[in-house]
């Protein structure tokens, strides 16, 4: 009798643990199939001409050269607008802010901003920068909009990086007579730099992957931009337009493959930075 019950419990144990293993396996398989599918279908179409030629007849033929360059401009400008402000905001929130209603409210807003869908960011950019400031659909509008999209990520990762810097570093510097800002600038920030870089790499990934917000702010120009007021396409937006309009499956797969490869590289560099930060602070196991 007791044996029977024990058998039942043992079977149950095996069954549920099997389910857990299965869910882990399924998740890994899903990720591999998505990345694998895109690479297998896309890579054969990624030729050197595809990477170096201009877009012709709206992407039906030709390459993606101007789109790659415009995407780089978008990343550069987006980071330029966002990184200084976000890092300074994070410094204020971790190093200066005292507990209080206002600081709580700032934190609440930053958290809320992280949960807002990109299409809402798109509407915001479309209204404020596009219509009120008259930027229309342009590289400048797209860059400012993605700068706001990545702010919560940058603030959070910078805050996490600052928090991992041991207090003894700060105390040592303050005891030597450095002011608070000098301590932050010369001691805390350099120690947190790898963590901040990992946040920057993540944000680059978000800019590259962003579509909905850019659809309403960046426009759909296919030429290499010569000034920031021109409309452009990022890689993701180009892919969306190719897919939704059913233009050239070959070029769509190839664009998707390029996009995936860039994301993979960024992902690896982000974890490399995190690893280096942990190593630097002696936190690696």
């Amino acid at each position: 009798m007791a044996n029977k019950q024990r058998d039942k419990v043992r079977k149950q144990e095996k069954f549920f643990k099997g389910l857990i293993y299965a869910s882990a396996a399924i998740t890994v398989i899903i990720v591999i199939s998505i990345i694998g599918y895109i690479l297998i279908m896309g890579l054969p179409n990624v030729t050197s001409e595809f990477l170096t030629e201009n877009v012709t007849s709206l992407g039906r033929t030709g390459g993606i050269f101007p789109i790659i360059i415009n995407t780089l401009y978008l990343i550069g400008l987006g980071l330029l607008f966002s990184v200084p402000i976000s890092v300074m905001a994070a410094i204020y929130l971790t190093e200066y802010a005292k507990k209080g209603r206002l600081v709580d409210f700032i934190k609440l807003c930053t958290e809320n901003l992280a949960g807002i869908p990109s299409v809402i960011f798109g509407l915001f950019g479309f209204l404020l920068f596009g219509r009120i400031f008259g930027l229309g659909w342009s590289l400048l509008n797209g860059s400012i909009t993605v700068a706001i999209v990545i702010m919560p990520t940058l603030i959070r990762t910078t805050q996490e990086a600052l928090i991992t810097v041991p207090d003894s570093f700060r105390e040592g510097s303050l005891a030597l007579g450095a002011t608070k800002w000098k301590t932050i600038y010369k001691v805390v920030l350099p120690s947190a730099m790898s963590g901040i870089f990992s946040g920057v790499a993540l944000s680059m990934g978000r800019i590259i992957g962003e579509t909905a917000a850019l659809y309403l702010t960046l426009g759909s120009g296919t030429k290499l931009v010569s000034d920031v007021m021109q409309s452009a396409r990022s890689l993701a937006l180009h892919l969306y337009i190719l897919v939704s309009e059913g233009l050239s499956p070959g070029n769509a797969y190839a664009t998707a493959a390029v996009l995936i490869i860039v994301i993979l590289i960024l992902n690896l560099s982000a974890s490399l930075f995190t690893y280096r930060m942990k190593k630097k602070l002696g936190m690696d196991k």
């Binding site: 144990e13 998505i34 204020y92 949960g115 299409v119």
Partner: protein, 296 residues
């Protein structure tokens, strides 16, 4: 000496103020966003009528007698979100338990890397992948056209996995080790301990992760736009095409004249979406606050 000190103190104050202004950017962005979207969207509530807008079942903005009912989009958003949660939660909680309780370090590292990659894949790639694989599969299996609520639900489920897994795992790890030890000492098996002790103890974190997942599913636009067919009607089954709120916001934007009724109806849709998201955000903050209070 005292002069340099004074100068230095002044400099420190100036820097602190500058940092404070930067910290305010998020507040300014949220406030401006709210004001602008409400300002553009509210006119539809008065010109077309609040009840007709929210509960109307016909969306025909360019008809001779234009109709702006968004109930189909509200229901579709609700259904596709529920569907994605039903698919994603068991899988995600399984992965979270695997990572926190069972995995050997090396296997855990593989799964972690996979989840990180999944979190980084752009939504347009998910949409494209689903369009090329899931949609044809649905077409073949069920003998329908393929673009459907089901396709949207499946791809959203995949997209929200990382959010639910990471936060649930953190919550499971935060359960004090005593709980587990006590349960095992009482003779419970490992699975019984996971199921009856660890998961209940991590409940608030797991719920938070699910609510965050819901928020992501509601807010997603491009992926669902590629696979759901986007017809503004109430789908009779999940195998039919339908349109979510986010898609409704973006679809007709290119030809809406600023200030016109269509334009205002699109921003009105955005208001409904915005309110849903804010309610979810508040729910998360309430759960977190309650958990902090309980655990001290």
């Amino acid at each position: 000496m005292s002069r340099t000190l004074k100068k230095r103190r002044w400099g420190e104050k100036a820097i602190e103020s500058l940092l404070f202004v930067c910290a305010l950017t998020a507040v300014v962005a949220i406030v401006l966003m709210t004001i602008l979207i409400f300002k553009e969207g509210l006119p539809i509530f008065s010109s077309y009528g609040f009840t007709k807008f929210i509960f109307g079942t016909t969306w025909a903005p360019t008809a001779a007698d234009p109709q702006f009912g968004i109930l189909p989009m509200i229901l579709t958003t609700f259904i596709v979100t529920v569907l994605s949660i039903v698919i994603a939660v068991p899988l995600a909680i399984g992965c979270a338990i695997f990572l926190s309780e069972m995995a050997e370090a090396r296997i855990a590292a593989v799964l972690r890397r996979a989840i990180e990659l999944l979190a980084g894949i752009p939504s347009v790639i998910f949409g494209y992948f689903a369009l090329m694989t899931i949609v044809p599969a649905i077409r073949q299996v069920f003998n329908v056209q393929g673009l459907s609520v089901l396709a949207g639900g499946i791809i959203l489920a995949i997209m929200i996995l990382p959010t639910i897994i990471t936060i649930s795992e953190t919550a499971l790890r935060a359960v004090p080790k005593d709980f587990k030890d006590a349960s095992l000492a009482l003779g419970a098996t490992h699975w019984q301990t996971i199921y009856k002790v660890l998961v209940p103890a991590a409940k608030s974190g797991i719920i938070t992760s699910i609510v965050l997942g819901i928020g992501r599913a509601i807010g997603e636009t491009m992926a669902v736009m590629l696979v759901m067919g986007n017809i503004p009607v109430i789908a009779s089954t999940i195998l039919n095409p339908a349109r979510t709120l986010t898609v409704n916001v973006i679809m007709d934007m290119s030809y809406a004249t600023p200030g016109g009724q269509i334009y205002s109806a699109l921003f009105g849709t955005a208001i409904v979406l915005f309110v849903f998201i804010m309610l979810l955000n508040l729910t998360i903050q309430m759960i977190t606050r309650k958990a902090v209070k309980q655990n001290g």
